[in-house]
Symmetry: C2
Subunit: 428 residues, 2 copies
């Protein structure tokens, strides 16, 4: 881990803002050419599109990913181990870039295990969570020597049997379903009945059985929620997670090597969203770690982040194929759509559709001239990338940029829907 | 087209109903072995799972698809041309099976064009709709000789240029955005401002230009909505679509070879859903065609159906990997999930989550013993296949069947989410 550096206090709200953009959140770190073209990684999007052979195209800016990790290192206590949750963006180039900058990787399938191992990350710093791991996945994890986050007593017993049959040690953590939640999360992963982890009150008995089964106890995994913008809520959940881990550690066969207190750091998607006060989280966590319970005083404290590391570093570029007017409303029809950006279309678990930040990447510096709805190329009314935004008057060939496309984009979308070609992805 | 045969008046609500199932809609045509295992295509699901090498597995029953087409032929007037909209299920085996049983195929991309051509369907009976067709797609359509459903004036001009450059004729229909809607549809495709088709009032001018550009006018495409269970609404929309086509035909360079009045026939997903009264639609359409307007009296009248043909013929099979109890609630954790069945999880444009018909395929005849929530293998609370259903008490290895999986299943789901392996698909 790097030493804490001076925190520059200027995370978001400092990026290039399109001249035609409404007052809303824009991720920082992007630029504009004198000709008004959005730049990613210091080069105009038109360059990257030429290089990739066309649109649609996902661009992930490695410098922005690195900067976000630096910001985390600067804000968080030195002893915190930072993990990257591959599920947010499993593109191998991204994982290979992130792996040396973080302390571990979190995976959710045998497919992600392969990607994680290929990055060169040490197996003991790879942990495998997931509520219904198949025998084949458990065995692959044992053979690779990664840590399995046990989601139930049944999974523990299957793993013990498989490890014994393979004649190999099995390294395990217990994923705990805590009695508290991360308040105000995009998705709640704790509090009440859940398919994830083991209810806290059953963990002591499980720890006992775990030792008897010959499994190597490594630590706890307590994940309480995701996509949270409230520092206060995160601070409270982290405090409770540590206290819970300490209480449970009393029942463990040995002191936990690590305590993974989850992630949940959100990024702002909508104009009303205030960016997370990362510094406040870091300060509170630092104070909390100074008074860490005896039972976990020597444990690695792991924060597991996905979206927060890569989400703002990505832009999805799609070309206008047609501009049409229907009953007085302007539609910009693009070669992209919800098959690549389901969440941006508002159709992935969202109750209310809100536009992602969207702008005209090839005319970023042009003032707004009309109101248009940006849709994809699919024959469904669900396929809307931006509802009634202000844009310059556009002809086919101009490129629309959908921001916040670094996490849960391509792999979280129905890419085969209607048989369109796959978009390109580039880490730049 | 086959001659009308006696309609048996017993489309749905006659299938096998699981002993543990609640009172809800079950698609017909499935059976049960004496041992209580669900059968598809006359064989137990366990047979198909062995043959496919495991779960998750999509099974599509060819006999049920054929029977549904027979029911349509029996109910609909003889002169109606039946098209299959590939988007509902583009698995090549399914398309190859359906193609000889219908009169045409509808496609939405160059990818679907390839599948359609490979089925042996004559190009003039393949029509290509889609709001943002790329130049490469338009050119592929011209070279293949299929009909392009024009979605805008801009697309018309691009197509004319591409066809001229290629020295090939271009066969076109005009997709009309009508001023009316298909009332009560799952998705509305007409009425008001839409990205699809050309507003009706602009069609006459477009038809004039179309002739001048040397495009071969073939007909009209008027699609007003989808997934509709009301015969009355469908009858009204079909009547209006025909009237609109007749009125527009006066401005056409020649009489339309065809009038595609869309589809929109729904299938019941929830207990409260009443199956579509197909006979009523057929009787009304027959009467309507007897008084068809002069301008379209010789036109093929096309009905374009996707979900209605294949939706009920499919079952998605997923194995229980773990059974766990959290705070008194039972969770059955499976090797499937929303990455294969996004709509069944309630996360594809649905506002309210409703269970699809779900049952225990390996214990279909067993009475219910407990209430359980069936979830997938993904680390997200969105991944629920059935909320609090009544099932026998299950151990790992039992197989859950999710019905209505024949349409908008695999290709409408984020299959790469979390890096799990692809499910198998079999037409049986």
């Amino acid at each position: 881990m790097t030493a804490p550096v001076q925190h520059e206090g200027a995370l978001p709200h400092q990026g290039a803002v399109p001249a035609h953009g409404e007052q809303r959140y824009w991720p920082e770190g992007f630029g504009v050419t004198p000709g008004g073209v959005l730049t990613v990684g210091g080069r105009p999007v038109t360059h990257w599109i030429r290089e990739a052979g066309g649109t649609p195209l996902f661009l992930y800016d490695s410098a922005l990913i690195a900067r976000r990790i630096e910001q985390l290192r600067a804000a968080l206590p030195d002893r915190v181990h930072l993990h990257y949750a591959i599920k947010a963006n499993p593109m191998p180039d991204v994982v290979n870039f992130v792996a040396p900058l973080v302390d571990g990787l979190d995976i959710a399938s045998a497919g992600e295990l392969e990607i994680a191992l290929a990055s060169g990350m040490e197996p003991r710093h790879i942990s495998f969570a997931g509520p219904a791991k198949r025998d084949s996945e458990l065995l692959a994890a044992v053979l690779a020597g990664v840590v399995v986050n046990l989601e139930s007593e049944g999974e523990m017993r299957r793993l013990a049997r498989l490890a014994q049959e393979a004649g190999r040690p099995a390294f395990v953590a217990v994923r705990v379903n805590p009695d508290f939640e991360l308040k105000g999360s995009g998705m709640r992963m704790g509090g009440g009945a859940k398919p994830f982890g083991v209810d806290a009150e059953r963990v002591p008995a499980m720890l006992e059985e775990l030792g008897a089964l010959g499994l190597h106890f490594e630590g706890f995994h307590i994940f309480t929620g995701s996509q949270n913008l409230s520092a206060a809520a995160l601070i409270e959940a982290q405090d409770k997670a540590l206290a819970l881990a300490a209480a449970l550690a009393r029942h463990a066969p040995r002191p936990p090597r690590f305590v993974n207190i989850g992630g949940g750091f959100g990024i702002p998607y909508a104009p009303a969203d205030k960016p997370l006060d990362l510094e406040a989280v870091g300060v509170a966590l630092s104070a909390r770690l100074d008074r860490l319970e005896m039972e976990i005083v020597d444990s690695e404290i792991i924060l597991e982040l996905g979206r927060y590391i890569v989400g703002e570093a990505g832009v999805y570029l799609t070309q206008v194929i047609d501009r049409k007017v229907s009953h007085g409303e302007v539609f910009l029809l693009t070669d992209g759509g919800l098959h690549h950006q389901l969440a941006a279309s508002g159709n992935f678990g969202q109750v209310i559709r809100r536009n992602y930040p969207v702008a005209v990447a090839t005319r970023f510096a042009s003032p707004g001239e009309e109101t248009a709805t940006v849709v994809g190329c699919l024959c469904t009314p669900l396929d809307r990338l931006a509802e009634k935004i202000t844009v310059p008057k556009l002809e086919p060939g101009e490129v629309i940029g959908v921001f916040l496309a670094g996490a849960y984009g391509l792999t979280a979308s129905p890419v085969r829907f209607l048989g369109h070609p796959e978009p390109a992805e580039r880490l730049v």
